[in-house]
């Protein structure tokens, strides 16, 4: 693979590139689903190709190809340079990159069981057994299960001399039960909505989930939800379960801190950010117990945002985002770091595949654990609502105003969960919400959740991000807004 990279870089240099980096990537994926006791999707795919990004005449060009012959690579590299020269026809300034060392390294994400080596029969048997457990519950009208496994090899080479090979093994698994009764559809998912939990692990992730114990529990909840009370509309105390809090972090912290958004580079599509450059080190983003980091290092955990080097050849780092409640850092790359006074990229350039340009992305943007035991948090809450498992999510294009709904809620009275509630939802303004946080559970309730479907960029790219979170409590939150006028 290094020969492919070198050939492409050599051609780019000959054509006039002043900088170039190449990614050869080989992606393998297996998808399994079941529905109502039958196999749904059963598919495996692979994709191998090369993408080259170059600077010429002070502007960027990128081209990609799956034609990995000498001629194909030369044409692709030449095309990237021609595109860069075209970009220069509409540039306002020269691209300047923050300095970075050259690295020669090889890294593999840790896993105990290669999911592609686990017999398919074993995987399907588990999904079909969990499916059957859910279908046993009266009132359940649709059962779904899924597993997804990926193995991604990438070979990164740059004109400054880096040669980095990385192999990542990623697993995902989830189950869901849906119940249609009367004029209402209710759904419960485990361990998270929209495909379950995903992480940088092998098949051991699936084995850790205990699907068989949880399948009947969520199925019963889906059926029962029809007969419980509607979540009231009020301003009050909210406790979020860990997976929902993970998505709250993703939308109201993770996206606003992307420096390309802040600088207007996503203004036409994904949007901008309320975190303008003057807010750095000034904004009281959250209450003083809130500490958030963007941490791509393995030390943080095996998340979807974990790697050794980003797709720009910068080593994985941990960046303070919110420290004791104050806004402290953005996600940056080599092109933008100097704009926030950094002499080095924070290492967050990521790409979906060989045919996509790396762009600034979340790594593992996590809320650090607090001090509360979960049971103590519940018993300390006089009047509140606990919400778990995301059902819908939406936030404005500058990341101020959000609304989430979850699959299930619980009313808490006098320190006890007293009754189940259906159709829970809440809304707010990002900074007001985070400043209302008064309790965060400790590390033994903390999970590094995976969001596998984060879309950004044009052409659209989907990458996975990690979000560590433990249940937390928020005061004076607008609850029940989604259904208030229906």
């Amino acid at each position: 693979m290094w020969d492919l990279c070198t050939n492409a870089l050599d051609t780019a240099k000959l054509r006039g590139a002043t900088y170039g980096d190449v990614r050869v990537m080989h992606l393998r994926q297996r998808d399994l689903t079941t529905k109502n006791g039958q196999v749904g999707t059963l598919a495996q795919s692979e994709s191998l190709g090369l993408g080259i990004r170059v600077l010429a005449n002070g502007a960027w060009g990128f081209a990609s190809t799956d034609r990995l012959t000498r001629e194909g690579l030369a044409a692709c590299a030449a095309q990237a340079v021609s595109i860069a020269k075209a970009s220069a026809l509409a540039k306002r300034s020269e691209v300047v990159l923050a300095p970075e060392k050259a690295y020669v390294d090889s890294w593999q994400s840790p896993f105990r069981k290669d999911p592609f080596e686990i017999p398919l029969e074993t995987q399907l048997a588990l999904l079909l057994a969990a499916d059957a457990e859910m279908r046993r519950v009266k009132g359940v009208t649709l059962t779904e299960t899924d597993m997804q496994f990926r193995k991604i090899d990438s070979w990164f080479a740059s004109s400054i001399g880096s040669r980095i090979h990385q192999r990542k093994v990623i697993s995902g698994c989830g189950i869901a039960a849906t119940s249609f009764q009367g004029e209402e559809i209710q759904k419960r998912s485990y361990p998270n909505g929209f495909g379950g939990q995903h992480s940088l692990q092998g098949y051991e992730l699936v084995e850790s989930l205990d699907l068989m114990r949880n399948a009947p529990l969520i199925a019963e909840e889906a059926a029962v939800l029809h007969s419980v009370s509607q979540c009231p509309e009020k301003v009050g105390t909210l406790i979020l379960g860990g997976s929902q809090l993970g998505l709250q972090i993703h939308e109201s912290i993770g996206h606003p801190i992307e420096l390309d958004r802040v600088l207007g580079q996503e203004a036409n599509f994904a949007g901008t950010s309320f975190l303008t450059l003057d807010q750095l080190d000034q904004l009281k983003y959250a209450s003083s117990i809130v500490n958030v980091v963007a941490d791509a290092r393995l030390d943080h955990g095996q998340g979807l945002g974990t790697f050794a080097y980003d797709d720009e050849g910068v080593p994985a780092q941990c960046t303070d985002i919110i420290k004791d409640g104050t806004f402290r850092g953005y996600l940056s790359n080599r092109e933008t770091a100097h704009l926030v006074g950094l002499d080095r990229s924070s290492g967050t350039m990521r790409t979906e595949s060989w045919n996509r340009l790396p762009i600034i992305r979340m790594t593992n943007v996590s809320l650090l654990p607090g001090t509360w035991d979960y049971d103590d948090l519940i018993s300390d809450t006089h009047d509140g609502i606990l919400m778990e498992t995301n059902r819908s999510w939406s936030i404005d294009d500058r990341r101020y105003q959000f609304q989430f709904s979850t699959e299930i809620g619980w009313e808490i009275k006098g320190g006890k969960k007293v009754r189940m509630l259906k159709n829970p939802s809440y809304s707010g303004i990002s900074t007001e919400f985070w400043n209302s946080c008064d309790a965060i559970c400790r590390f033994d309730h903390w999970t590094l959740w995976g969001t596998p479907n984060c879309g950004k960029g044009q052409p659209m790219q989907t990458v996975g991000t990690g979000h560590g979170a433990a249940p937390a409590r928020f005061r004076n939150v607008h609850i029940g807004t989604a259904f208030s006028n229906q």
């Binding site: 692979e46 081209a63 939802s425």
Partner: protein, 467 residues
Amino acid sequence: MKPPAQNRKVSTASSAGAAELLHERELRRIVDTVLRLAKSTGAEEAEVHVDEVADALTRFANNAIHQNVAEHGLTVSIRTVVDGRTARATTNRIHEDSLRSAIEVSLSLAHRQPKDPRLLPMPGKQRYRAVNRFIKQTAALSAEERARAVRRACDLAVKKGQVAAGIYSNGQSQSVVGNSRGLFAAYRETHSEFSITAQEGPAASWAKANSTDVRAFDPQKLAARACQKAHLAVNSRELAPGRYTVILEPAAVLDLVGFLFYDFAATALEDKRSCLNERMAKQLFGQNISISDDVYHALQQGAPFDGEGLPRQRVLLVDCGIPKNLVYSRAAAQAAGKRPTGHGFALPNEYGEAPMNLVFGGGDSSMDKMVTSTDRGLLVTRLWYIREVDPYEKVMTGMTRDGLFLVENGRVTGAARNFRFNQSLIEMLKNVELLGPAVRATGEEAFEMVVPAMKVRDFCFSEVTKF
């Protein structure tokens, strides 16, 4: 097998144009090779999809190009059937060894699962209605031409003291599907798109067009429109949340009603996750709402065959507000005792089918007429981050974006801060007072469809944001 890649025409080093696609006979040769190999490896039936794409996209922000990309890719996706079981394997490596390996993976997956009682034999040879959606001028648009057009649009923004961001893209793609029962279908198209957001201080507005024919829109006119509306959006005022009459531009309509498409899948009803369960043949929407699925419509795009290679049929989904018909894959049709409509996804899958080429019936009301007939309401340019809150009542939430304007006494009187909405689509389509002509609309939440602008009463805005 001699790899077709050797014959692939790739752009020369002096050009920043996109790679050319293979000739259809090269794709047919890949199909034939896979079918021959599959037969020799024990597959009872085999189906092959070959998809090729050559796209380019120029992205600009802060009045300059900041990203500029091109891609070429070809994938071969193989489904085999053995003993009542089926599975799929996909690769982009088209040497014979790689294709054989993909066939073996597909067979191995298929072997190791329970029998599928609903699996049907593959369909035989079909007849297709010809569509021509390949425009050579679109395919030929170069990076230099895109850059010059972007430069002109940005210069306009600069002249007006504004900041522009957007994209200008073009590309070509082709798909063929063939199977061991003699079915073969081929389709190619071009596509192009220009989108621009103009920002004036905290205000912004947006314009976008999308077509098979790059000559069908003028980037400079779109830029002028976005700049003009961005200026109108300056000094927005905060209004109280509540129910408003809204005038939804076609992009706003599209991004909302786009969430209805899967509800018309027969499999969605069978799974009881469609909002049409227990509601077929009832007066669900207003009498002025009619919806069909029609891939052959002049403003539509897409292949005239489905994932199994069946010809797509035009289907009347809603007639004068009454849901009349659904779309059916072959398996769903078999289960329901209906005829397949040519809307199935590639097998195996759990979703069945969906109408992918929605065409709403339009009216004759211009945007001006909608505004002049409104005492108090809001003109909505675009919606954003729309998600489903209630799947049966089809309550959607989302935000207005890039130009929300207050209409008073028949004219636009100023800009308003953006709102969050929580609105049932079913209720909304009961409350449509006026319809514009149906146009090809393009947004960001739904794929392109043919929809009209709509004037809708009692649209529910629940909260307001900071800008």
